[in-house]
Every structure is written in structure tokens, then in C-alpha cells.
């Protein structure tokens, strides 16, 4: 028997009203946004847009009302996510807080942390980044070395976090620090903290340009940065388990197969002009798209039921990344047009952006090899 369970999950009919509302909103908001900008989807950031989404009640949709949430279903949230992604809305500013850090605080945060932070996240005013990777700790996350040493009233932090997406705009980092350096405490010596990036001395954030010249991620250096006791998240030494739970959220959403969707759409637009060439290739892509959506919906169904879809999420993310990364390859084979930067038609520019971006899709949020290792463990091989 396969260790995964993908039960079909049909979105309830009442989500359709929300879908229409979101489509109307996006048609207006994105009217003048170029396709190449839209192609960034959840890597694209626009704080004004995030505030508008907050005002619409589309951030923290499933959270309790007392923390600024809207107590809607995971299905409503799923519809919101897939509509935003398919349209290429600039949801990047609030994305991490909505997807990951908010749910983490709901689960492990203190009452004070929740009350202070979550309502602002839900308004689209407060943004998060994730401090996991380090110079010597990438896939081997438990090799985290950035230390949080106990001092009076809090912790003194020293070390470096790397590849921290959005650290330059975020208000808070959810950081994984080492609170016990004993060799036997590799996993049990890790603790999660909330770090106030805007009001803490001893933190230096330096942008790192990616290969396309964009600066989405950063190096964040901590030099005797003081983090108060009240900013510890969950339990001291419980960081590993908390991070693992958090990664299930990070890996489960429709963003794990829709990141190249804009290119698929523009490819079809090009083919329309060519009178039906490329039908076989497009048909294949549609079949994979439909399959991935059903798998992704199945994971959403598990979340709605309160089940843990960690393994299933890894399966969808692995297959989704293949699909996303394959898109520029298919486009190139089919149309042979040169990818462009700053000129050319929508298709050429979107191709230019995604050709350069897709290598990151099987790195971010757990590499392909790590995910397959998780799947292999699920299969009983390790």
C-alpha cells in the first residue's frame, strides 16, 4: 500500500461567490499591471495591495476573530490563494505571515504575541520572514549555529541567517536559533523566536542579488542582538518539532504548482496566433495542471479536517516543482522565441523572467532531494 492518502476533495459550492468577488477585485486592481510583473506572483510585493486585501478580509481568513481573523474555512482560503496566484497578484508582502507565521503563532505563540501581532498581519500591515537557512545550514537545518544565549531578561543572539526572503521589508522574523550547543542536542537544542527586525539593535540586513539581478533574499547578521524572553515561540528546545509542523504549511499550498502558470497562459496566447500548433504539448500541460490541482485540493481537504498532510504536501510540492520548471523548457521547445528582459511582448518577457527564476522552485521550501527523502521515509525505506 502507498503511504499517502489523496482523497478527492470538491470545493463547496458556496466558495464560488467568493471566487467571483476576488476575480472582480483583481480585474480592477491588476488592470494596468504588466504580465511580466504578474509573473512574480507570490514573489511580487506591494504593501498597498496587501492592505487592500486585509481590508477585504482575505488575510488570516481561517484565524479566530479575536485575533483579527475571519473564521472562514480552509476552502475559502484555498479559493483566495489560487485566484491570487493564477492572476499573478502581488501577494508577497503578507504571504509568509498569512501562510506560515500566523498559523505558527496561533499554535505555539503566547497570548500576548497573538494579540499584539496577528490583527496587524490580518490587516495587511505587518510582514514576516523566515530565518531558517544559514551559511553552513541549508538542507541540514538541524546544523543551525546562530546562537541565542540566555542573559538577564532574554537572549543574546549571534550568527548569520541566509537566503532570508523579504527580510528587508519584514517587520518580524520567525527565527530558529540554537539555545543548546551540546553535541547531543543537535535537534533538541533548537528554539524558535520572534525577532523584531525594525526595533532591535545588532541586526544588519544585506540584500543578495539573485542571478536575474533581483534582490528578494538577504543575509541577516546578528551581533549581540537582544531578544526578550517574551519573544520565545513555543518551548525552549522545541524548535525542531515546531519547524517541522510549520513546513507542512509551507509545502502544502497551490503556490507549489502555479508559479509558472502565467507562462502557460501566455504560451497559449502565442499559439492562438499560430493556428493550432503545439496542441499535443498544451494538452499534456493541461492534464498535469488538472492533476496537480486535484492533489493540492486533496491536501487542503486534509487541512480542513485538521489532519496532518506533511507527507502528501511533500508529494505535491515535488511534482508541482517539476511541472513549474518544465514550463520554460516546453515553451522553448514549442515556440523557440528568445526570452527577453525589459523589451519584447508579454510572452517573451514572462519567459525571460521565469527561465531565470525556475531553478529556485526546487530549492525553496525544501529541496527536491530533501522532499524525496521525506517521501522515501514515508515509503519505509529509511
Amino acid at each position: 500500500m502507498q503511504p499517502f492518502r489523496f482523497d478527492l476533495c470538491e470545493l463547496p459550492g458556496e466558495t464560488e461567490g467568493l471566487r467571483e468577488e476576488i476575480r472582480a477585485f483583481l480585474a480592477e486592481e491588476l488592470k494596468h499591471v504588466p504580465k511580466v510583473t504578474r509573473a512574480q506572483t507570490w514573489s511580487g510585493s506591494d504593501t498597498e495591495f496587501s492592505r487592500k486585501m486585509g481590508a477585504k478580509g482575505w488575510i488570516g481568513m481561517t484565524w479566530p476573530k479575536k485575533y483579527g481573523g475571519h473564521e472562514r474555512s480552509f476552502f475559502d482560503r484555498y479559493v483566495m490563494l489560487e485566484e491570487m496566484l493564477a492572476a499573478g497578484a502581488p501577494v508577497g508582502a503578507h504571504w509568509i505571515g498569512d501562510r506560515q507565521s500566523g498559523p505558527l503563532l496561533l499554535r505555539f505563540g503566547t497570548e500576548e504575541q497573538r494579540q499584539k501581532i496577528l490583527p496587524r498581519v490580518a490587516k495587511g500591515e505587518c510582514y514576516f520572514c523566515i530565518g531558517m537557512s544559514e551559511p553552513d545550514s541549508g538542507s541540514d537545518l538541524a546544523a543551525t549555529r546562530t546562537r541565542a544565549d540566555k542573559v538577564d531578561g532574554g537572549y543574546k543572539v549571534n550568527g548569520t541567517k541566509l537566503w532570508t526572503s523579504g527580510a528587508h521589508t519584514a517587520h518580524y522574523m520567525i527565527a530558529l536559533f540554537r539555545t543548546d550547543s551540546a553535541p547531543e542536542a543537535k535537534h533538541s537544542g533548537l528554539t524558535q523566536f520572534l525577532v523584531d527586525l525594525k526595533n532591535t539593535d545588532g541586526i544588519t540586513i544585506r540584500p543578495i542579488k539573485d542571478l536575474a539581478g533581483n534582490a528578494h533574499f538577504n543575509e541577516v547578521v546578528f551581533e549581540d542582538a537582544f531578544v526578550p524572553d517574551g519573544m520565545l515561540v513555543g518551548t525552549e528546545g522545541g524548535g525542531w518539532g515546531q519547524v517541522t509542523a510549520e513546513l507542512a504549511f509551507e509545502r502544502s499550498g497551490p503556490e507549489r504548482y502555479l508559479s509558472s502558470f502565467m507562462l502557460m497562459v501566455e504560451m497559449i496566447r502565442e499559439l492562438e496566433k499560430r493556428g493550432g500548433d503545439g496542441a499535443v504539448e498544451i494538452g499534456r500541460l493541461v492534464a498535469h495542471l488538472v492533476t496537480l490541482r486535484q492533489m493540492s485540493l486533496s491536501v487542503a481537504g486534509m487541512l480542513e479536517k485538521g489532519e496532518n498532510p506533511a507527507l502528501e504536501a511533500s508529494v505535491v510540492k515535488d511534482l508541482g516543482a517539476i511541472f513549474e520548471q518544465d514550463m520554460p523548457v516546453r515553451a522553448h521547445e514549442l515556440l523557440g522565441m528568445a526570452p527577453t528582459v525589459g523589451e519584447g511582448n508579454d510572452y517573451e518577457q514572462v519567459l525571460g523572467y521565469l527561465t531565470q527564476t525556475v531553478p529556485s522552485f526546487s530549492l525553496r521550501g525544501g529541496t527536491r532531494e530533501i522532499l524525496r527523502g521525506i517521501i522515501a521515509r514515508g515509503l519505509g525505506l529509511r
Binding site: 497559449i268 493550432g276 499535443v280 498544451i282 492533489m295 515509503l379
Partner: protein
Amino acid sequence: MNELQTILSDSVNGLLSERVTKALVQKAEEGEFPAALWNEVEANGLTRVLVPEEQGGAGGTWADAAIVLKAAGEHVAPLPLAEALLANWFLVQAGIEVPDGITTLLDGDFTLEGGKLSGEAPHAPYGRHAAHGVAIVKGEVALVALEAAKIDPGINVAREPRDRVTLKAAPATAKKASLPGNAMKLYGALIRACQMAGALGYLSTQSVAYANERTQFGKPIGKFQAIQQQLAVLSTQAAACGVITDHACAQADKRGSDAAFEIAAAKIRVDDASSIATSIAHQVHGAIGFTYEHGLHFATRRLWSWRAEFGAGRDWAETLGRETIAAGADALWPHVTAR
């Protein structure tokens, strides 16, 4: 699973896992039809899942049928179970009484004149063993006894009988049914896709089991990352096929033949997965999996045959792609989310 699905699953998996032995499949490939097993399959009602209860069936849905179809693929049952299940459903659509015994699908060019069926099905599954055949001619479902048919035996790569069945003015029971013009190919693709999803699940579990048993360099080969990564890929492909075939069946229940979109997607997806999965399964099994003695090939040869039956993935992809391009770039997302 609902109650009927649990009963069906227990029944079909219990029967086939016990009775479809390597020896039985091997004998079938040598031409010895497992008639006793077939009789039990029929006695358990497995060919009548889609037949209403008042006509002696289970009154099931395509979602229920998927369980039987997948099991037939998973256990490499050398029987025309999927074909009979579909043939019986066609008969039900036309209000024709479902006969006992093997009824196969006659996919080919046929004409109906004055209640007489003429024409040829070049690759009728198990044609030589079938008592009846079902053809679809211009919206009419035709049931015909095959005793007077000319049968030229043939096989596919899996050595399943694929016989040329030629009929000349054979008396048929024919009635109009509300089915699309390509019903034979469309629903044929659905049953094959489900069988293939089952066979792919088997490839995954079998390959994992083998990797845990086979020792090289002092440890089971499944302990090597190179093998683990390959098996992870195989399992995800199988998982994807399980989902899309379930989805296609659910949509067939919901939309009837308007589920052509999902059925096409399913056949395309399992075709793609078959190429990846058969390659990995054989690589993991090494030389032993390439022998006739080892049973792996019963599944892989079926997948290589089935992926081209009732429309290869590329054929369905061409249809789906044409429709997608014709509808226009901006119609894709609304279409996908409306289903």
C-alpha cells in the same frame, strides 16, 4: 470509502490477490483462459458494478467501479473484467438486458442494417473467449452473440488476447442510447486509465518491497539514496494517477460524457506516468526484473500496451490541447476551476 466501496474492495482484492498467481497469469499467456476465476468474478458481481440493482447489479457509480478497475490492474488479472464492466454499462444505457458470460467491447467500424451488425473490430479484447460483443453504431448500442463471428487471434505486448472479430450481418439487439459519438474510445480510455493507475500502484509497492529485500554492498539497496530518490519519484507518479483517475470517475458520475475533459486528462497523465514508472521499476529490479521468471513484467507489459489503447496520451493531448487553444488563453483558468 462508503459501504458499497468497502464491500467491492474487499471482494475484488480478496479474490484477485489470492487467485491471480504467477502461474495463473503465465498459463493465461500460454492461451489457457482462467475460466474458473472468471466464473467467480462474475458470481461476485464484479462485472455488474454499474448495472442497476433491479437488473441484478450493484447499482454502483463510476467511483465504485474505479475500485474494481484499479484492482484488476493492480493484480494483473488476465481477464476481460474491465471490458465486461464497461460493455454491461453500455447495455444499461440502452436498456438492453445484460447477458451472463463474457461480453467484450467491439471497437471498430460497424454498420447496423435491419437489426444486423456487420463490420470488424481489429483488436477486440478476449474476443475468442467472449460469448457476446457490444458495439456502438451511430448512437445505437448493439449487443451481438459472437458464436457466428470470424475470429482471427491476436495478442498485445502483454499477451492479452486482442482478436480481430469480423461480423457479417450478425443478428443484434440494438437500441438508441444517449451516448457521445466517441463513447467507445472515451469510456475505454477511462477503464484503461483506472487499470493503469492500479498497475502503477503495484509497481510502486513491488519496487519498494524488492529494494527492502535485495542486498548489495552489505545492505538492502533501498538504503541507498540513489534508489530512495528513484522510488520516491515512482511513488509520486503512482499517487498522481490515483488522484486523476478518481477525479475522472467522479466527474463521469457528475457530468456524464461531459467529463471528457477529465477522462482525457486522466489518460494523458497515466500515459506519462507509465513511461517514468516502468523505467524506474525495471531499473530498481535490475536483471531479475528483466526475466520472464520474475513477475514484474506482467504489470509493465500491460502498461506499455494499455497506454496506447483507446487513444494514447498524445491523441488525447492533441484533442485537449486543440480545445484549450481554441477557447483562448484567458479561458483556461475559469474552465479548470469550474470543474
